[in-house]
Every structure is written in structure tokens, then in C-alpha cells.
């Protein structure tokens, strides 16, 4: 919402700067987001008069001008001018030495430049007579801008052009429709500074003898959506431009001046907040206005020339034959004010906010008027506004105001009464305000305050809230007004006195936190990716995706059903930005559509699951002086998962080795936690890599964090450390290649007895010196005695037993170490 500082000052005695005003308005809750000094770029330009113009002695196309730039002095500046249209006696726009000319018409990009004293072909020039283009106020670069003969020499150009104003861009919150106009903002400024609000004086125009009722009837068929409809008529108007002061005000707030009738309706809307609409009376068939709903499928062309298809719930303004406006949204092309208009009907109505909002949404048409109606205007302001507009139109466009006002208002909307307790006010705010303070604050914004009852315990006010404040509905709303007017910054910042732990449910996220710190310590970078991905990709990962009805783009139209697409996207992005050796992890949600019954999803039918994703690609470490580089493989990702589980206190995990691989990953290993499938790890399939245009192999793991959470957070139990030396023995076997190491390990444990605590595979060898289909696997066995030192023969007996068992089970042969 744009508010002009000059315009604002018509309604409030405020003598300080625009910056001060902005600050006060902001503290009142109307945030000034931008302060725009309109004519600041023109502050070294003045109105001048060419008192002499002679041909340049050395150049045909140049004129040497003497230009008077000070009001009562005949001292003139000598300025050399190149424009063909410069003449003696003209009032012109003069840039003084030191001024920055906003646009240079001799520069391809129109770059600004600073005026200096120069000599042109030997003749001194002290400034510049400017064109519209150079001033940045128009596009004409052919000749200089010739000003109105009445322009006062010496005044700044900004003032002459009505640009000596400052505009505030205010972010008016939806609860304050009363501040979408200058009076509303002025009321706040007045309340905050203690100044008086100056309401525009009623202009008394003699009305014609003829009664409006002789020329127009209005009937409202839908009083629910149109609780009030007021209208006046003016005849014999002459359409023309409105006065420049009014045009300047409109331009300042961003409204294009059109003609003296339309401009006045806009002016009054920006002044009082009441949207008005002017109809050409000659184009109203049957001298009749009917407010009624549209018929289904009806078509209507609005002022902007667009055709709309209407539906039954839309309120229309009609005449005897046709619709002439979409009520509260936009007028029709068929009744628009034109140059030929001589009689007008001015409409000033109060439409129901929900009706206007619905229509505006359905038509995709939001206007200054609809925005005000849907937030709620003052139902009791229609007549004041329409009379003021009529008087102004009669003043600017001539014409006669017909006697009387049509005012269909079957059920008056009266001011609301709200009870306000002083004790409650102080209890909510933590303040110690008294009755006088509260009364002062509320009456400063036109709320009538009357003491209802008072006792030692409490005093209660009856507050009558003006109808232009539809946001004030109950006591708490008035308490906010009190706080606002008292000043938020004048309320003490009190720290909550004591912590109360009753009912405290502290939920911590140990699993995610532990995982994060483990990954950080191990050289991984955490990623956070967009949860919204494209539909085709999403469907590769799940048939039950969650789709967004109104996505920003196709690329972000479905909620990700897996972390894998996010991770691959990240790999792709980094690959294209020169980083191919990657260790990334992400903790985030996946989303799936599920049957509405079953499950305990908070919103039935929609399942969210927090997952941990890990991905690695490229070199494990860079080549260094102490290390050869190596490309990561499946055992890197497997090792990461194993170590991580060790870290987050999980020992109930099991890997499932699949025979076949999915379309997403190959070399896939399933992860089972306490018997529940909880994720997988594997190598991303080449088709998937191609889809994401990734060059290097990628290894990933994706684990459901919820299933870890259920298992996690158990405390590891202490076991007695042995007082006796432990013993390490190495055993190597030759086994058929197809035997799994995991199975041999299991068998070693089974046959090794209770003292065997740890088995570590330290070598796997195939090839040279070994028969085909045979591999050598070497384990280090760790025996820990419990009661006494182990003798060599006891260890020998144990290893022999193991060797026999392995030999028997796998046809393995013990290798001498």
C-alpha cells in the first residue's frame, strides 16, 4: 500500500520529517517497508525562463540562451542549448551545475551524468535546458521540455512537477483494512503523536431540483452479499482531465490518472477507503440498477477488455437488460465513462467480504476495490464517501448533483460493544496500566469507552468499536490495541521467573544427533535437499507417491518417496561443479501415500518417515605422499554402515545378501534391525546413473531412522575385564571360492568355545600358487581367558578343534602360517 506523505499531512498536523513519520507508523504496526523520495533526483533542477536566445557564433545548430532561474532577480545564466525548439520567453527545466542528469540521450544506455561548467565551441555554458527524456519523466528526446506559462521561475522542478513528495510503501496486515487509505494511516499517526485528526471538510454543493428517484431505481436481490447499496447521480458533466494536484497524488500512490470522474472515485477510495464506481447513465438500460447473482455460464467483458465466464455465486450489478459490473471487483466495458459521458451514476456499496473474495479468486481478478471489499470496509461510510465524490466531480467536471441519495440498507450494521477488564489487560500484558491510561489509548483511535462497573477488584469498560475496525471482535483484540498504543517497547522485558518441570516431556533425538556427529567426524558433508522432485523420477522409486496439486514447476511436483533421487541429484550437481570425490549424508523425510485406515500416521493416508541416506563416489582419498588413491567400492559403504551402527549402539543388525539385484541398485545388501527390514546398501545401477547423467559409480545406503530409534537408546552393559593375558592366533584356510566368509566366521565362533571373543579376517587371496576355484582366507583369533592364564596346549586344542570343524563343513584345508 502506497501512502503519500504530502497527502497524509492534509489530515494530521505533523511537522516533523517523513523519516520520523515512517518510524512512528512502523511502531504502530504499519510497517513502512520502503521510503521513496519521489523527486529527489530532481533537486538541482529549477524552473527557468529563456529571456534571450541567439544563434551560436560558431555553430549553426546551437543557441546561446540567457536563462533567468531566480524568482525576483534578473541575473541570468548563460546556457548553450542544442535543441531545435528553444525560443525566447519559454519556461523551461534547467539543470544547474552540479546536478546529476538522470538520463544522457547521447549515451546508448542513457547513463546519468553530472553537469559541469563547460565551453561549447568557445562559448561558456552554465547548466542545461533539459528534455523530458533527460529528466526521466517521459520519452520525448527530440526537443527541450517546455513548461506551462504559469510555472514560477526559481521553484524546484520537483515541486513544479508535483514530485516534492515522499511515498511510504506500507505492508498493511490483513487485519487492518481501515489502513488501506490515507485517513486510516493519518488516524494512527495522530493517535501516536497526540495530534488531531483533520477529517476532510464536507463541500456544500447545491443540489439540483430534480430528484434522483425520478431517474433511477435500485433494487438489491441479494442483501446477504450486498448489505448496503448507495448511489448518487450527477448530470451535465464535462469529462476532461482532473487538476494536476489530484493527478500528482494519484501518480504518487501508483494510480494512472484517467479523467476527472474516474480520478475522483480513485481519490476518494485512497482518501476514505470506500471503493466507488461511476457508470455512464446513458448506458444504463431502463433507468434501473439491479444487484443480483449471475446466471451460470453467463459471459461478461470487464473494463480491461477481458471476457469472463461467470458462475451463479457471483454478485453482479445489472441494469434492466444486462450486467454492467462484477460487484466490487470491476466494472464492465459496456457502461464505462467515456469522453461523451454527460450523466453519471456513482455507486458506493458495502459488499460481503467473503462474496467478493470468492468472486475475485474464481475470476483471477484482484483490483484495488476487491482487495478493500474482501478485507472489510466501513458499512457506515458509503454515503459520506459518495457525497464527497459527487461534490468533487461537480467541482472539477461541472454538472449538477441530483437531489437525494439512494441508500438501500435494510439491516443496519451497528457498532460492536466489547467489555474490557482492566485486570485482564494487565494480566495478559504483565503491565500495571490504570483506567485513565486505557481510556486515553482507546479513545485516540475512535473507540468510545464507558466505565461499566468498578470495584476494588476490577474495573470493566464497555467499548464501542467503530465499524471501520472489523478486526476488533473480542476483549483480546482491545488488549492488543492498548499494548500497541502504550508502545510495545514501553513494556518491561521480564524473564520467566522459574522453570516449571511439571508435565515436561523431553524428547531428544539421540540417534540422528549421534549419527550426525559420527559423519562429521568421519569426513562426510551433510546435505539438505528439496523434498519436492519431478513426477517421472519419483515414480521410479515408488508407485505410491504424494502429488502436489498446484506445483511451482514439473521439476517439483511430487514429494520424494526415497532419499536416493535427492542424493543422486547432489552427486550430479557436484560432478558438474568439479567435485567428483564425494562423501555425503542426509537425514530427511520421505513421503508416501498409504491406505487411509491402518497405521498411525497423523494425517491418515499420508506416511512420512525419517531416513538416513549415505552416498559415496569417486576416490576414497586423494593421492598423497603417504597414500595411493583408491576408488570406493561396495565394502566402503558396507564398512561405513557397520561402523556407524557400532557407534549408535546397535548390535542387533543383520545383513541380508540377496541373490538378485533391484533395478535401482546392484550388489545390494539388505539391512535388518532386530528382525525388521530397515534399509539397504548397494551400488547404484548404471541405468539410474545414466538417468541422472552421473559418470562415476555411486554407492549408497538408505536406512529408516525410526526403526533405529525404536531399538536405540539402550545402555551398553559392562563386562568384567580379564586379569589374564589374552592370546592371538592366526589361522588360514584354503576353501572353495564359493564359500562365504561370513559362514566360515560363524562356524569358527561355533566351534571355538566360550573363550574365543573375536575373529578378524585379515587376508583374502586368490590366484597365483593356488588352484583355480580355491581362495585363501586368513583369520586372527582372539582368545580371552576368564579364570587363569591359558597354556599353549589349551590354545592348540582349541584351534585344532576349529580347523577340524571348518575342514569338515567346507572342505577347507588348514594352511601353515
Amino acid at each position: 500500500m502506497r501512502i503519500s506523505f504530502n497527502w497524509l499531512r492534509r489530515y494530521v498536523g505533523f511537522t516533523s520529517t517523513s523519516e520520523d513519520a515512517a518510524q512512528i507508523i512502523t511502531s504502530a504496526g504499519l510497517e513502512v517497508e520502503k521510503i521513496e523520495p519521489l523527486g529527489k533526483h530532481l533537486d538541482r533542477f529549477v524552473v527557468g525562463e529563456v529571456i534571450a536566445a541567439e544563434k551560436h557564433p560558431n555553430a549553426d545548430k546551437l543557441t546561446v540562451c540567457q536563462v533567468r532561474v531566480e524568482g525576483d532577480s534578473f541575473n541570468a545564466l548563460q546556457i548553450v542549448c542544442g535543441a531545435p525548439n528553444v525560443r525566447e520567453g519559454q519556461k523551461v527545466a534547467v539543470g544547474l551545475v552540479g546536478a546529476t542528469v538522470p538520463r544522457n540521450q547521447h549515451d546508448a544506455n542513457g547513463k546519468p551524468f553530472v553537469l559541469t561548467k563547460v565551453k561549447l565551441r568557445g562559448v561558456e555554458s552554465n547548466g542545461m535546458i533539459c528534455s523530458e527524456y533527460e529528466l526521466g519523466i517521459g520519452d520525448d528526446a527530440q526537443g527541450i521540455l517546455v513548461l506551462d506559462g504559469n510555472a514560477v521561475v526559481g521553484t524546484t522542478l520537483a515541486r513544479h512537477l508535483g514530485l516534492d513528495d515522499t511515498v511510504f510503501e506500507i505492508g498493511v496486515t490483513p487485519n487492518r483494512p481501515d489502513c488501506l487509505n490515507h485517513i486510516g494511516v493519518a488516524r494512527e499517526l495522530a493517535a501516536a503523536t497526540g495530534a488531531q485528526l483533520i477529517f476532510p471538510e464536507e463541500i456544500n454543493r447545491a443540489e439540483a431540483r430534480e430528484e434522483i428517484s425520478q431517474h433511477l431505481t435500485v433494487s438489491v436481490k441479494n442483501t446477504a452479499d450486498c448489505p448496503r447499496y448507495s448511489a448518487v447521480m450527477i448530470s451535465d458533466v464535462r469529462i476532461g482531465p482532473s487538476p494536476s494536484w489530484l493527478q500528482n497524488f494519484l501518480k504518487a500512490v501508483g494510480v494512472r490518472p484517467i479523467n476527472n470522474v474516474v480520478d475522483v472515485t480513485n481519490f476518494v477510495m485512497y482518501e476514505l477507503g470506500q471503493p466507488l464506481h461511476a457508470f455512464d447513465y446513458q448506458r444504463i438500460a431502463g433507468k434501473k440498477i439491479v444487484v443480483q447473482n449471475a446466471t451460470k455460464g453467463q459471459r461478461f467483458i470487464t473494463l480491461d477488455g477481458k471476457e469472463h465466464k461467470l458462475s451463479e455465486n457471483m454478485l453482479m450489478i445489472c441494469d434492466a437488460e444486462k450486467a454492467v459490473a462484477v460487484a466490487g471487483v470491476m466494472g464492465g466495458l459496456n457502461s464505462e465513462i467515456s469522453e461523451k459521458t454527460t450523466s453519471i451514476v456513482l455507486e458506493s456499496a458495502y459488499f460481503s467480504p467473503t462474496s467478493i473474495r470468492r468472486t475475485s479468486k474464481q475470476l483471477g481478478l484482484s483490483t484495488d476495490a476487491s482487495q478493500r471489499f474482501e478485507r472489510g470496509i466501513d458499512p457506515n461510510g458509503t454515503v459520506i464517501a459518495v457525497r464527497r465524490a459527487a461534490a468533487l466531480i461537480a467541482e472539477f467536471a461541472g454538472g449538477k448533483i441530483l437531489a437525494g441519495v439512494i441508500d438501500i440498507y435494510p439491516k443496519e450494521i451497528s457498532a460492536r460493544e466489547i467489555l474490557l477488564r482492566i485486570s485482564r489487560t494487565n494480566k495478559i500484558l504483565g503491565t500495571d496500566l490504570n483506567a485513565a491510561d486505557i481510556e486515553k489509548y482507546l479513545s485516540s483511535i475512535a473507540i468510545q469507552v464507558k466505565m461499566e462497573s468498578t470495584s476494588a477488584a476490577d474495573s470493566i469498560f464497555v467499548c464501542t468499536v467503530p465499524t471501520f475496525r472489523p478486526d476488533l471482535l473480542e476483549e483480546i483484540d482491545l488488549i492488543e490495541e492498548v499494548a500497541r498504543l502504550h508502545g510495545y517497547n514501553n513494556i518491561e522485558d521480564k524473564m520467566v521467573s522459574a522453570i516449571d518441570f511439571r508435565n515436561m516431556h523431553v524428547t531428544i533425538a539421540p540417534v540422528a544427533d549421534a549419527a550426525r556427529s559420527w559423519f562429521e567426524a568421519n569426513g562426510f558433508h551433510e546435505t539438505i535437499s528439496n523434498s519436492m522432485i519431478d513426477a517421472t523420477t519419483a515414480e521410479i522409486f515408488s508407485p505410491h507417491t504424494v502429488r502436489i496439486l498446484n506445483p511451482l514447476s514439473n521439476e517439483m511436483s511430487v514429494m520424494r518417496p526415497s532419499l536416493l533421487p535427492s542424493m543422486l541429484q547432489n552427486i550430479f550437481f557436484n560432478q558438474n561443479h568439479g567435485t567428483k570425490d564425494l562423501r555425503l549424508f542426509e537425514i530427511g523425510k520421505i513421503y508416501e501415500q498409504r491406505g487411509a485406515n491402518g497405521g498411525n500416521d497423523p494425517v491418515p493416508g499420508f506416511h512420512e518417515e525419517e531416513r538416513l541416506g549415505i552416498c559415496i563416489s569417486g576416490k576414497k582419498q586423494l593421492r598423497t605422499w603417504y597414500n595411493e588413491d583408491r576408488i570406493v567400492d561396495i565394502f566402503d559403504i558396507k564398512g561405513i554402515v557397520e561402523s556407524l551402527f557400532l557407534k549408535i549402539l546397535l548390535d542387533k543388525i543383520r545383513f541380508i545378501y540377496y541373490d538378485s539385484s533391484s533395478s535401482l541398485t546392484v550388489q545390494t545388501i539388505g539391512i535388518e534391525i532386530n528382525g525388521t527390514y530397515s534399509g539397504y546398501l548397494g551400488k547404484v545401477s548404471s541405468t539410474l546413473l545414466q538417468r541422472f547423467q552421473i559418470e562415476n559409480d555411486v554407492y549408497v545406503a538408505e536406512i529408516n531412522l525410526a526403526s533405529i530409534k525404536e531399538q536405540g537408546r539402550s545402555f551398553k552393559q559392562f563386562f568384567q575385564l580379564s586379569k589374564f593375558p589374552s592370546v592371538l592366533r592366526d589361522l588360514a584356510f584354503l576353501v572353495p571360492k564359493k564359500i562365504f566368509v561370513h559362514d566360515i566366521e560363524t562356524e569358527i565362533f561355533k566351534s571355538g568355545g566360550s573363550l574365543l571373543k573375536q575373529v578378524t579376517l585379515f587376508d583374502v587371496y586368490e590366484g597365483k600358487n593356488l588352484p583355480e576355484n580355491v581362495k585363501s582366507v586368513a583369520f586372527s583369533l582372539h582368545f580371552v581367558p576368564e579364570e587363569k592364564t591359558l597354556t599353549d596346549s589349551e590354545i592348540d586344542a582349541a584351534t585344532t578343534k576349529i580347523a577340524e570343524a571348518i575342514g569338515l563343513k567346507f572342505g577347507a584345508e588348514l594352511r601353515r602360517m
Binding site: T173, G430, V496, I548
Partner: protein, 343 residues
């Protein structure tokens, strides 16, 4: 005196002299070993003299024994001194590697800057006694809007452009619905923070994202006041942004709080002088807050007369880019390792 006449006495003196002479000749570990064998070994000179002591008459034994012990401890200390000298010499001679070689590095990982900001904020509030609660991102209209006092068809809904999944299901536009879910399941007192991901149907640019994070806070009890809300926010802001910040509060509007406020602090990038980050105002808006609206209490079945409360919320992405001077919000979701490893 008589003792000296006994031959063993002069042998002790001679060996003492010999040891001193030989010690001066020790220059290497080998020499030292020879010295040890000659004097201190099991069959060395000193041991030999101890053997001879056995043959000495008893009356002489105490005196000579004492002399022998003296000899032994003297030779031992000679040996120790030489050993020490040689050892430190040999260390000096050890070859020094090229110390400018880079060290064997351990991998360095990073947490996403958003996580870091979230953690810091959570740490401050948990130390004030706030618990942490979570809620779904796919929400229903009731929790996201209606229970939070956004009536259907109300312009306040335009403040938050919404992604819809169906007519009544949407991607939550703020973390505030978690307030409702917490209050539906629990009676006051309540003191929780609710971090999480939220969605807005807004064009993506350097200054706005369609997906971002918020932290919501809720405190409900008897006699919670606006004054305490301000105090809590000031305590937070001083802890998070520094104790010397200046701050101010402005009235604002959120349907689910009343009175509502926004809090500004002096821009820490320009110290209040005005810069592009603070739109040349010298102030940065850091959060929105307010007293829980009675309608919200009514929706969750609380008695709005007997309990009061406050709620607050802040955007994490914005806080993060301000803290680190990141020029473009979009960088936070690109996951470029060269970006991530800076934090």
C-alpha cells in the same frame, strides 16, 4: 689405619683409578659396553674384588666392604653419566625428516549450515527448559489453518501461499500446526520448541525459497504474560546474536496470536548504519511472536480464561544466511561441497 695395609685396599684404589681413566676413553655405545663388562659385569673387576673380600679377616671386613661399596656406586654413577651422554648424542645424530611435508590428514566433515543454526537455537531454548516436539509436513487444513484461527476464505490465508495435496490436505506452511498437535495431546504447562521443514508456493529466488525451515516455540501456563514473552525473546536474541545487540518490538499480525509482534535487532552486518542486507534501515527482522489467541485455546479445549501463553517462530534459512553472510538463499539447497565445506 691398619686396614689400608691390607693388599685389597690398594687393589680397590687401583681399580677406582683405572675406572676413571677408562671412562675418559668411552666415546661410543660399544666403548660403554666394554667398560661395563670390565668393571660392572657379573665377572667384572668389582665382582672380583667382592669375591676377594670373602677371604679377608673378619675384623677388616666392615671397613673394606664399605670401601668396595663406595667403589661400586662411583663406577655405577660414571656408567650412568656416560650412558646418558651417549644417548642424547645419538638422538642428536638421528636424521630429521622434511618437516614441511603435509601431515597425514584425518577427514574433515561438516554439518549443513541449516543444521548448525537449528542446533544452536535448540540449545538455547532447551537450556531454558523447552522440550522439542515434531509434527508432520503433510498436514490437514484444520491443523495448519483452521485451528490456528485462519477462518476459511479469509484474506489472512493469502499471507501464506499454499501447496495443496488435496482439498483438505496440504504441505504445512509453517511449524505452527505442531502447537495444535502438542496441545491436543497434553495439558498445560507446556514449554516446547518445534523445529521443522515448511513449504510456501512462492517463486524461488535469491531471497525466497519454496521450502525452508522454521523453529516454533510455545509456552502455556497460568499467568504467562506479554512482558515475559518479550523477556524470553530478549534473552534468546542476546545469547544467539550477542549480548550487546540493540533490539525493538513492533506490533504485527498473525491470526493465532494476539497481541502479535515482530522483533528487530540492529543489523550486525553494518552495525545499524544501513546496508543492502537490512534494506538500508539498520534493522533486521529476526522473529515473529505473540500471545496465543483465545480462539486457539478454545479449539484445543483449554479454558482461555485460566491459561495464557505465548508462541514465537523464526525462519532458519534467513538466520543462517545472515549469520554467515551468504548472498543467495538458493545456495543452501544446492549442496555444492565447495559451499558446504566452508562451514
Amino acid at each position: 689405619m691398619t686396614a689400608l695395609k691390607y693388599p685389597l685396599a690398594s687393589e680397590i684404589a687401583a681399580l677406582m683409578k683405572a675406572a676413571e681413566t677408562r671412562s675418559a676413553e668411552v666415546h661410543s655405545v660399544d666403548d660403554l659396553e666394554k667398560f661395563r663388562v670390565e668393571f660392572l659385569a657379573r665377572k667384572g673387576g668389582i665382582a672380583e674384588l667382592f669375591d676377594k673380600l670373602k677371604a679377608v679377616p673378619n675384623d677388616q671386613k666392615p671397613v673394606l666392604g664399605k670401601e668396595l661399596n663406595k667403589l661400586r656406586s662411583h663406577v655405577e654413577s660414571l656408567f650412568e653419566a656416560m650412558h646418558h651422554r651417549l644417548n642424547s648424542q645419538s638422538k642428536k645424530e638421528e636424521e630429521i625428516p622434511d618437516l614441511t611435508l603435509p601431515g597425514r590428514a584425518l577427514p574433515v566433515g561438516t554439518l549443513h549450515p541449516i543444521t548448525q543454526t537449528l542446533n544452536d537455537i535448540a540449545a538455547i531454548f532447551t537450556s531454558m527448559g523447552f522440550a522439542v516436539a515434531n509434527g508432520p509436513e503433510i498436514e490437514d487444513d484444520y491443523h495448519n489453518f483452521e485451528a490456528l484461527n485462519f477462518p476459511p476464505d479469509h484474506p489472512a490465508r493469502d499471507m501464506q501461499d499454499t501447496f495443496f495435496i488435496s482439498e483438505k490436505v496440504l504441505l504445512r506452511t509453517h511449524t505452527s500446526p505442531v502447537q495444535i498437535r502438542v496441545m491436543e495431546h497434553q495439558q498445560p504447562p507446556i514449554r516446547v520448541i518445534m523445529p521443522g521443514r515448511v513449504y510456501r508456493n512462492e517463486a524461488i529466488s535469491a531471497r525466497s525459497l519454496s521450502q525452508f525451515h522454521q523453529v516454533e516455540g510455545l509456552y502455556v501456563d497460568r499467568n504467562v504474560t506479554f512482558s515475559e514473552l518479550k523477556g524470553t525473546l530478549v534473552a534468546f536474541a542476546k545469547e544467539f546474536y550477542g549480548s550487546n545487540i540493540k533490539y525493538k518490538f513492533r506490533p504485527s499480525f498473525f491470526p493465532f496470536t494476539e497481541p502479535s509482534l515482530e522483533m528487530d535487532i540492529t543489523c550486525f552486518i553494518c552495525s545499524g548504519k544501513g546496508c543492502p542486507m537490512c534494506k538500508r534501515t539498520g534493522w533486521l527482522e529476526i522473529l515473529g511472536a505473540g500471545m496465543v489467541h483465545p480462539n486457539v485455546f478454545r479449539k484445543v479445549g483449554y479454558d482461555s480464561e485460566s491459561v495464557t501463553g505465548f508462541a514465537f517462530g523464526m525462519g532458519i534459512e534467513r538466520t543462517t544466511v545472515l549469520r554467515h553472510g551468504i548472498p543467495d538463499l538458493r545456495m543452501l539447497l544446492e549442496n555444492d561441497v565447495k559451499f558446504l565445506e566452508q562451514f
